[in-house]
């Protein structure tokens, strides 16, 4: 069995995720649609693997998950963290019924001076999603930034 936490790909979750990104493409929800059949089954929207967060133990942005200890201070350290970049590479298709296994590792870290002063601290996180046959399906690279000040508009 591949390393990492389990992320079973479920038809309902694919449908919910597609709706949440405003997408009613039958390829994401209708098993009988000709496009779905041509794709070898229902496929997921391009950013779908984000919802592996539901399966990630101690996911940082779900402080109200049952059984989890709240961090002190309500908002915890979340107030200054922003998502700067997100990149995906799609290596192999997956469909409902497949189980993905996600492994995460830290990538580069760097610092920049913000346009209006204050340091911006960037850090990269790389998640690989392998299926039950240990075939790499998706690589996700996320870049987060911590700001000293709220980002001005």
């Amino acid at each position: 069995m591949p390393d990492g936490y389990e992320f079973p790909v479920d038809r309902t979750q694919v449908m919910l995720f597609a709706r949440a990104v405003g997408d009613i493409n039958p390829a994401f929800c209708d098993p009988k649609d000709p496009a779905t059949v041509a794709n070898g089954g229902i496929v997921a929207p391009p950013t779908f693997v984000q919802c592996s967060a539901h399966w990630e133990p101690d996911y940082a942005l779900d402080l109200t998950r049952p059984g989890r200890k709240q961090r002190a201070g309500g908002g915890g350290g979340l107030g200054r963290g922003l998502h700067a970049e997100q990149h995906y590479e799609y290596h192999h298709p997956f469909h409902p019924g497949d189980t993905l296994y996600a492994t995460q590792k830290a990538g580069e870290r760097w610092e920049k001076e913000g346009r209006r002063g204050g340091k911006l601290l960037f850090s990269e996180s790389i998640t690989e999603y392998r299926n039950q046959d240990d075939v790499l399906c998706v690589t996700a690279r996320s870049v987060g930034v911590q700001t000293e000040k709220a980002v001005e508009q």
């Binding site: 949440a20 390829a27 994401f28 391009p46 995906y88 799609y90």
Partner: protein, 133 residues
């Protein structure tokens, strides 16, 4: 479908985005960062004028323009930078333009520059996608 450099496609991917859209994305994605649903925390703790949409919601909405245009299972790569926050009330238009086409394995490997703009023409997402069509 045959594509060539310079081909363009655009779509309004959300009109007048509501807090409800943002909350729906939070539920589906599992990202419950309170900056995206709790005005009190967004204003008082973090100093923002209100809640704002997840960057990943903008990227997801933008993805629809790509998959409607290029095919639901066609993407090989998709990456973006988040260039501006999306606030309740914003309307987003996602735009793609073909910048490179290669032949590979009987398919076209198409590189697309992606920009999503708000109702003021300011970009909120900028990036690139590669699709096999």
């Amino acid at each position: 479908m045959t594509l060539k450099v310079g081909d363009k496609h655009e779509a309004v991917v959300v009109e007048n985005i509501q807090r409800t859209h943002i909350v729906k994305y939070a539920g589906a994605s599992g990202d419950f960062n309170p900056l995206h649903h709790d005005d009190g925390i967004a204003k008082n703790l973090a100093g923002y004028p209100s809640v704002f949409a997840h960057g990943m919601l903008s990227m997801g909405l933008t993805g629809r323009m790509l998959t409607d245009w290029l095919g639901a299972a066609s993407l090989q790569k998709y990456g973006v930078r988040f260039t501006k926050q999306v606030w309740p009330g914003d309307t987003l238009t996602a735009k793609g333009e073909v910048t490179d086409v290669k032949q590979e394995g009987g398919k076209q490997l198409v590189t697309v520059r992606v920009v999503t703009v708000n109702q003021n023409g300011e970009s909120v997402v900028e990036g690139e996608a590669v699709a096999a069509v």
